[in-house]
């Protein structure tokens, strides 16, 4: 009698628990990270009687969650990749938009600047064309700066995002460690499903931020590692990542790992997740773009200035600098122990690769390493002011006394635009005229003529001196009445730092006067040469003009962005399908739960019926014995 009651009661309790679990599943149908649960039932140990084994009802073994570690792993990996490329594509898209914007891009500003140079060469005497050129030069500088400003603000934003991500990583680590402790406390006999779900969810969130490796302990806790084995969580303990200013640049954040064995910089070690995407964006898109624009600014400034110096400005003096750019960066590390400092000068922008450098003193030698390839660059020279170290178009001068192991950061062009300005004070500074002129004497017997000279070396002390070439025969001439020099028709005569060409056949007694060009308001020789700098190959080893370099930058950033976007799209689909597969196994299906609900409800009713039958049996028995 009591056995049927016991069986019924055990069934009632088991089905109520099962119904509870169905209810829990329905309640958490939309809870992120929730794995559906089920109650594991088994028949109680039977009781032996002479007639055999009689069942004693049902018992609850445990409540289990549907969880597949392999599928979860796939979701974690896909999530890490997806958020890496999502972050990369998001930031890359902004640089991409910026570069080719018809209003904000560099191309239109370059075009109108060089058009103004041409207009200036058409009409050098008019103040209007000079004024227009000056205004265009100013707007070219402004365009460079607005591009750089926007890139700088993207850079600041990524630095901030790195700091934000690191703090999220640390929070998640703490939460995981906390859950580890609670899971260990709960013991391994019966799985604490909801705690495990919560921890799995936190780990999934963590892998969205950074790639991690997980190992599981027997006591149910997990260990979390980043990079190449740096521990984030071990049992209930956490190790924090830290953001601190770069040793070279206090405005830039670096992520370091404070481990037992000292600090480890993580920039090149952390992969995947948001932080991997951020570092990848900084290293492959943002910094290269800023360097390319910086190099363009230096190229425009240097070619224009050096051509301007070969002509005469509105006041009849050799042209001065029009543009000035920010100096090349050579910063000692904050960790240096010596007193050494370096100064860096860009001598040939065409030779400078788009990379930063590490310059270090190893105790005996100075060595230079490229950041992008890590390759060592051979230095020539001795590093003194008279004989600087030279490599890749750069000149590096060392001062003070560096200690062994001291390092310096070299960034040839990264600061060029922030320091870009127009140093010329007024439109008169543009040099339109050639510096010298030549003239054949009116009394010459022959019709040989001389050109106005091509300037070669304006530092020649006699550059502006008046000289007279007098032919003493068809093939000999004297200069200012002295000397006798051989002449072959078609030769150029280099004199006073300029090269002159005489056409025709001069005869004895012919005189040619070479002198400083004066009052040449209509002379546009140098203005034409200034205009020709537009197409001059000054970048990429002299193979690209500034506008070509810019369009190849646009192509590079465009294809990197496209790659990032395509990969992000693909990874989103991979993530979606991994998540779908995980949910196929672990997710709640409401229809299924509805069926379960009915199933257990009916079972519960049946169990209740068993008890009612037991009751009736009891009543029957009582009635039988009352008589």
């Amino acid at each position: 009698m009591s056995s049927i009651l016991g069986i019924g009661t055990s069934a009632l309790s088991a089905f109520r628990r099962s119904l509870d679990t169905v209810g829990q599943n329905i309640a958490n149908a939309n809870t992120p990270g929730y794995n559906r649960q089920r109650v594991l039932l088994s028949a109680r140990e039977p009781q032996f009687s002479g007639a055999g084994f009689f069942g004693r009802g049902v018992e609850i073994n445990s409540v289990e969650r549907y969880y597949n570690a392999f599928l979860d792993d796939q979701v974690r990996n896909a999530g890490s990749s997806a958020s890496r490329y999502d972050t990369l594509a998001g930031f890359a898209g902004r640089v991409d938009d910026l570069l080719a914007d018809p209003l904000a891009g560099l191309s239109p500003a370059l075009s109108s600047f060089y058009s103004a140079v041409q207009d200036f060469s058409l009409d050098p005497a008019t103040p209007a064309s000079r004024g227009a050129l000056f205004a265009e030069a100013e707007s070219l500088v402004a365009r460079f700066q607005s591009l750089d400003d926007q890139l700088a603000s993207v850079s600041a934003e990524t630095s901030q995002a790195v700091a934000q991500t690191v703090s999220e990583i640390n929070q998640l680590s703490t939460s995981i460690a906390d859950l580890n402790q609670r899971i260990v406390t709960a013991g391994t006999q019966r799985p604490p499903n909801d705690l495990l779900d919560e921890r799995d969810q936190l780990v999934r969130e963590l892998t969205r931020l950074v790639d991690v490796t997980i190992t599981e302990e027997n006591n149910g806790s997990i260990n979390v590692f980043v990079g190449n084995g740096q521990t984030l969580v071990i049992g209930g303990e956490t190790f924090e990542l830290e953001v601190q200013p770069s040793e070279f640049d206090p405005n830039r954040n670096e992520v370091i790992y404070r481990g037992l064995g000292g600090d480890t910089p993580l920039r090149d070690i952390l992969k995947g997740g948001e932080i991997g995407g951020l570092f990848e964006f900084q290293n492959t898109i943002l910094d290269p773009t800023r360097r390319a624009l910086g190099a363009s600014a230096v190229a425009v400034a240097q070619t224009f200035n050096s051509q301007n110096a070969l002509g005469l400005d509105a006041n009849g003096n050799l042209g001065g600098d029009i543009f000035s750019t920010g100096p090349a960066r050579g910063t000692p590390s904050a960790l240096n122990t010596g007193t050494g400092d370096i100064s860096v000068v860009v001598e040939d922008i065409g030779q400078v690769p788009q990379s930063g450098y590490r310059f270090l003193f190893d105790g005996t030698d100075y060595r230079l390493f490229r950041d992008d390839t890590g390759a060592e660059v051979t230095l020539t020279g001795t590093g003194t002011g008279a004989d600087p170290f030279r490599a890749d178009g750069l000149a590096i001068t060392v001062s003070g006394a560096p200690a062994a192991g001291d390092t310096f950061e070299v960034e040839p062009v990264l600061d060029a635009i922030s320091g870009l300005s127009i140093v010329a004070s007024d439109p008169g500074a543009f040099a339109a005229a050639g510096p010298t002129r030549g003239a054949a004497d009116l009394g010459n017997l022959s019709d040989a003529s001389i050109d106005n000279g091509v300037p070669l070396d304006t530092s020649d002390p006699d550059f502006f001196a008046t000289s007279i070439i007098e032919f003493t025969g068809p093939n000999t001439y004297s200069v200012n009445g002295a000397g006798s020099f051989a002449f072959t028709p078609g030769d150029t005569i280099t004199l006073n730092g300029s090269a002159y060409t005489i056409t025709g056949t001069p005869t004895a007694g012919d005189r040619f006067t070479l002198e400083r060009n004066t009052d040449a308001a209509g002379d546009n020789r140098n203005a034409l040469a200034l205009g020709a700098t537009r197409d001059a190959g000054v970048l990429a080893g002299g193979s690209q003009s500034v506008s070509q370099a810019y369009s190849s930058l646009v192509a590079t950033v465009g294809s990197r962005t496209r790659l990032a976007e395509n990969t992000a799209d693909a990874q989103a689909i991979v993530l979606q399908s991994a998540e779908t597969r995980r949910l196929e196994e672990s997710g709640v299906n409401l229809d299924e739960e509805a069926a379960e609900l009915i199933r257990f409800q009916q079972a519960y009713q049946a169990a209740a019926e068993v008890i009612s039958v037991a009751n009736e049996m009891f009543d029957t028995l009582l009635a039988a014995t009352r008589r």
Partner: protein, 397 residues
């Protein structure tokens, strides 16, 4: 296969979002008419379009340059036409003056007209262009190139010639220096000048037989001296005797590479100089001619001197005319070059524009059809989602 309720909703939302995004991209393309919205849409195409646009800007600038050069060259051409007309008129007047029937008085009238022409010529040489710069001053475009001085005329410009870019590889001068046009005319036949000495007492006049120039002439100077009315000797610049001979009027005398003819009756002791042509300016040639005509003559010897001066003037004017013609031919060929280049540039611009359009412009037919297709898909997805999410066992419980 189980379908989790959460995955069902999430996947449907993602699908709808993806469809909406591609619909949005298409809509952006149709609205702007460009198939490249940002470089990442077509990195190589964007870079090419940027380069092409740069080339197009250059070509358009070259067209502007060519327009300006053309207008300056047209002005030069017009001015030079005026100069040629004036020089032709001057030549006619000089020929008139050479006529033996002229009197001192009539020659005065001719001289007056010559001087008037001279003033006009000077004005033409000092022509200014649209931006008020002197056309013929070389680089000294703000300095009046030709001025009258106490001793004649002076050129204040230089030999500079301004170039203008009309294509990436072609630069052409948009002017010529005044010195070349007006200020550096070789007298005589362009190489050799033969003149009677001012002190001659006879009526001999000297002519150069080589009107077109001589070859092998090395700028030597000679002097023909008449030792008697019918005998001459030729000495070089160093005084050495080159040749001598008997003379009858109209005889040609040859020495070195030269061949001259003396007509009329030279007197004993008369000297004729033959030497390299000096450079002079047009204005001085006309001025000297007018001065010679204004000088009254009373005897044959004076007339012979005046004839020689008229003759020298005519020779000079011929040289000036051919110089102006030469420069005009140059201007004409430069104008033709510009015209050819402008056509070539226009063709290039058209090709560039087409190439840019090929890269950037949207194929509307394809885009609209894709848009319609995407919209239909989105609508179907939305409707099927609504239908399916409605099916739940709970609704039947």
């Amino acid at each position: 296969m189980r379908v989790s309720t959460q995955a069902f909703f999430e996947n449907n939302v993602l699908t709808l979002q993806r469809l909406q995004r591609s619909l949005n991209d298409l809509q952006e393309q149709v609205a702007t008419g460009r198939q490249i919205q940002r470089p990442s849409d077509d990195p190589v195409g964007s870079a090419r379009a940027l380069n092409l646009r740069g080339s197009l800007d250059s070509v358009e600038q070259f067209q502007r340059n060519a327009g300006l050069a053309e207008s300056r060259l047209r002005l030069e051409e017009e001015t030079l036409t005026g100069v040629t007309d004036l020089l032709q008129r001057t030549r006619e007047l000089a020929l008139q003056a050479a006529n033996a029937t002229q009197t001192n008085e009539s020659r005065d009238f001719i001289a007056a007209e010559l001087r008037q022409g001279l003033d006009q010529l000077l004005a033409l040489a000092n022509t200014r262009d649209a931006s008020d710069e002197y056309l013929f001053a070389g680089y000294q475009s703000q300095t009046q190139p030709f001025t009258r001085t106490a001793s004649g005329f002076s050129y204040n410009g230089d030999q500079g010639q301004r170039f203008v870019s009309i294509s990436r590889t072609r630069q052409i001068p948009d002017s010529d220096s005044g010195e070349r046009i007006f200020g550096r005319i070789r007298e005589g036949n362009g190489q050799v000048l033969a003149t009677p000495a001012a002190a001659n007492t006879g009526t001999g006049t000297i002519f150069n037989n080589d009107a077109a120039g001589v070859s092998g002439y090395g700028f030597e100077s000679y002097q023909i001296t008449f030792t008697a009315a019918d005998a001459y000797e030729v000495r070089d610049g160093g005084g050495a005797l080159v040749t001598s001979g008997a003379f009858t009027p109209g005889d040609s005398i040859t020495f070195g590479a030269l061949d001259v003819r003396i007509e009329g009756g030279p007197a004993t002791g008369d000297v004729f100089d033959v030497g390299p042509s000096p450079n002079t300016d047009m204005f001085s040639i006309i001025d000297r001619l007018a001065t010679a005509l204004e000088t009254p003559t009373s005897n044959d010897s004076g007339r012979a001197g005046q004839d020689a001066a008229i003759n020298r003037g005519l020779e000079g004017i011929d040289q000036a005319i051919s110089r102006v013609l030469e420069v005009r031919t140059g201007v004409g060929s430069r104008l033709a070059t510009i015209e050819t280049q402008v056509d070539a540039n226009a063709g290039a611009a058209l090709v560039l524009q087409e190439s840019i359009a090929d890269i950037e412009d949207l194929d509307y037919a394809a885009a609209i059809s894709a848009l319609t297709q995407q919209a239909t898909t989105l609508e179907a997805a939305q409707q099927s989602f609504l239908r399916i999410q409605n099916l739940s066992l709970f609704r039947l419980l």
